[in-house]
Amino acid sequence: MAEAQSIPAGGAVAVAAESTVATRMSAPPSFDVADFPVPHGREEEWRFTPLERLRGLHDGTAVADGSVKAEIVAPDGVTVETVGRDDPRVGRAGKPADRVAAQAFSAFEKATVVTVPAEAVPAEPVRVSLHGEGGVTYGHTVFDIGRFAEVVLILDHTGDTVRAANVEFQVGEGAKLTVVSVQDWADTAVHCSQHNALVGRDATFKSVVVTFGGDVVRLHPRVSYAGPGGEAELYGLYFTDNGQHQEHRLLVDHSAANCRSNVAYKGALQGARARAVWIGDVLIRAAATGTDTYELNRNLVLTDGARVDSVPNLEIETGEIVGAGHASATGRFEDEQLFYLMARGIPAEEARRLVVRGFFAELVQQIGVPDVEERLIARLEAELAESIA
């Protein structure tokens, strides 16, 4: 059953807050922004977020005056459409869970629908690149993955924008979808996005979320199951610099029997005002017998003053499950570690690299797309070089 571990951080750098109830939000999910009161910051889902830095996404004052340049590279057989709000495929994977996601849903004009037909197995990934060109933008994207299709999807976010979006992954029966979402924004960008995955019967959904950039990034990767036998693997990696706020709020809603989920997020923080938040909610409903779930969050604090809030939470309504657990730990890269490695001849810079690379290695390997892995490693090195300089 539930087990919680918390390894002391050796200082006041990390806070494992009290568990909260997954469903205890200030309003139930809804497509209508009017159903959500404007947050004041003390709500459970907003208490870690710097509202004043959301640039009005949360209170209705952010007018869509910006643009993003979108490039989609779709292999043969994969179709890309621009559709209206009334398209039946829009909104199937889940409702907005908070005010900003609902704002995005209420504000977008055209949605993008990317369809991978049933049984298609494209040899190349589908690549979606969004480059912010300033101003406020709202977005809605649907990825419709047909029955027994197998595909890799790479979502790349660069440039500068204040953006709220919803992204849907509708994973058909027996399909296999791997999504890599890279948030490599400019330092001024604000990005709030809800990822809704609806995992079909016996389907496999794997998500790798990589967050480097942005002033504020607040993501909600959410998974629910359309039938039994589904599998979800949610991996995440974040590198939070001085002044950045990076928040990942996950929900796995086990509503069907015999489904599995595995969550592993790891973050490194550097700089006195680096701030990361990880919320891992898992809900096992009464009907979800045979569920097997585990979630893990690890943080590595590289410098003094950075702060992480890590809140794993498990709500179980049936005892007829295979397993359920979670773990959260935050540790520091300390002067003593640096001394130990240097006392073995390893230069300071390399010592730090060694520790961070080792920390992220198993997650980087999960990506399975060589050019993305390489870019990621290069980006990690660059982040570290910055911290040393």
């Binding site: 240097m342 006392a343 001849g345 390893i346 230069p347 300071a348 390399e350 080792g358 920390f359």
Partner: protein
């Protein structure tokens, strides 16, 4: 022949109410092939000497010199000292999360040797050294010192000593926390390195029991932040019989 020369070394640490002098004029010369035991009561400054030689930032050198073959050790950074051939086997080795022992050893050997060891011979070298220290092969896949028992930590230190082949090995209370079997295994490891004749060993200890396994050429009594008496192995026997009381009573500390 490598020689470590410590001359009139004064070291202080920052404490409440200002810096506190711990080492008060240490003089010692350690030559390659020699083994010196430094023995003394708790709080006499033995470990401070060890960490100061390795360059721990907590300690401030306020006077004196340390040279290795004439090179100024005190002017070197921690990693430069290690690459110059100074090795400190620590009393409390530090956990390094996310870094496996095998990755750590290889990175360290690459830094010390100046080039990456050839993979095939390296793997064999590590495996054989681990076998001699009676370490399970799975050990290499664990994170450095994470969840290691006291004995495992010390074996891991000696594993590094054997692989890195320093000119000067400083062993800080390597015997502490070891049961009799582990003490034997660890001591055998140290002796293998000593038998090469290429290392000068500075063995820092509170107890004489490790000297049954590692025979010193010179024994120094450390009290009040300096060496107060030096002699041959017979001095250890005297300490065993009489303790440190005569050195601590006379107001030297």
């Amino acid at each position: 022949m490598a020689t470590l020369e410590i001359h009139d070394l004064h070291v202080s640490v920052d404490g409440e109410g200002g810096p506190k002098e711990i080492l008060r004029g240490v003089d010692l010369t350690v030559k390659q092939g020699e083994t010196h035991a430094i023995m003394g009561p708790n709080g006499s400054g033995k470990s401070t000497l060890a960490y100061s030689l390795a360059g721990h930032p907590k300690y401030t050198i306020t006077g004196g010199t340390v040279t290795l073959d004439g090179e100024d050790v005190l002017d070197m950074s921690v990693d430069e000292r290690a690459r110059a051939g100074v090795f400190l086997a620590m009393q409390y080795p530090v956990e390094v999360p996310g870094v496996s022992v095998s990755n750590f050893l290889r990175t360290s050997a690459t830094a010390i040797r100046g080039e990456a060891p050839r993979l095939r011979t390296w793997v064999k070298e590590v495996k054989e050294t681990m076998q001699r220290l009676e370490m399970d092969p799975s050990f290499a896949e664990r994170n450095v010192n994470e969840g290691f028992s006291g004995g495992e930590k010390k074996r891991h230190e000696i594993l590094q000593l054997e692989l890195l082949k320093p000119k000067i090995a400083i062993l800080d209370e390597t015997d502490s926390g070891l049961d009799i079997d582990a003490l034997r295994i660890v001591s055998e490891g140290v002796n293998r390195v000593r038998d090469s004749g290429e290392v000068g060993t500075l063995l820092i200890t509170h107890y004489t029991r490790i000297l049954r396994y590692i025979k010193p050429d010179h024994v120094h009594v450390f009290a009040g932040g300096r060496i107060v008496e030096s002699g041959g192995p017979e001095l250890a026997d005297k300490l065993e019989a009489e303790g440190y009381e005569q050195y601590t009573k006379g107001g030297v500390s």
